[in-house]
Subunit: 147 residues, 2 copies
Amino acid sequence: MPKTVYKTKQQDLLFNYITTMKGSHFTAEDVRIHFEERNISIGIATIYRQLEKLVSEGKIQKYFIDEHSAACFEYDGENCNAESEHFHLKCEQCGKLIHLECEELSELGGHLKNEHGFTLNPLRTVFYGICKDCASSTKNTVCKTES
Amino acid sequence: MPKTVYKTKQQDLLFNYITTMKGSHFTAEDVRIHFEERNISIGIATIYRQLEKLVSEGKIQKYFIDEHSAACFEYDGENCNAESEHFHLKCEQCGKLIHLECEELSELGGHLKNEHGFTLNPLRTVFYGICKDCASSTKNTVCKTES
DNA sequence: TTGCGTGCAAAGGTTTTGCATGGCA
DNA sequence: TGCCATGCAAAACCTTTGCACGCAA
């Protein structure tokens, strides 16, 4: 016998907010601040629990950018299937997170599958490197700010 | 005027150990345990500081598997340049971390650079997905252990 | 009324930091 | 001797968890 599921005010508030963020990423903290600013009190534990539930239902995605920043979540619409497939590029220098939709990159999944038997999860994979802006601004300088 | 740099016993011990681990991954905790087992006392803070220094010097790589496990480090030899270039595949199901050297994948870097102006860091990037073994063992089952 | 979802606070684990001490140059 | 690196403990950080209460069904 399946567990009864309750619908709560917090669930609605949270999911409504998330749909307005379609296509961009946010952290649990972002959500908390959003509601705090509107004097709506939702406990951080509830936010984490709801986000985790939405992740396990496949309604939102969760990414790990790096170890010291909070996890990022993202809502990509109702049908976040192959059609809305995109990749994330993370700049190691400026920290920017870039969305990338690219046919050629999508073939990467096919290659990994066919040649290496590995089923890529593009929604979870993050490419690290240096973005265009940072590359051009440091073209002739090797200086990294060192303490 | 550059800061004077001191050579210490701990630095040598730590780097020596790391070179014996060439090609495999380890955490800060692994290092601590290694020395503890040999009754060599190196503070965990020192381990983190030294590992971080080696990362910033480019001598070792650091990558993040997921948010709740410790960061992994890896030493790939003196010249971890294009020639020793490889990728990391992480199975989301069994947790296995796979090393992959692949010509075609290397072209990925070129594509990202030429078409998107993004300089990929393959040593930091981890591809998430399902490995061959897990894919075949769950071919006909959709069951994920749910609580 | 039943029992799920919430909120608070405390705990969890990894990593960083302050400060006094030890040891390299 | 000067001052960097170390070690300890405490702190920071994000996230999870225990437990009592409120609220949906």
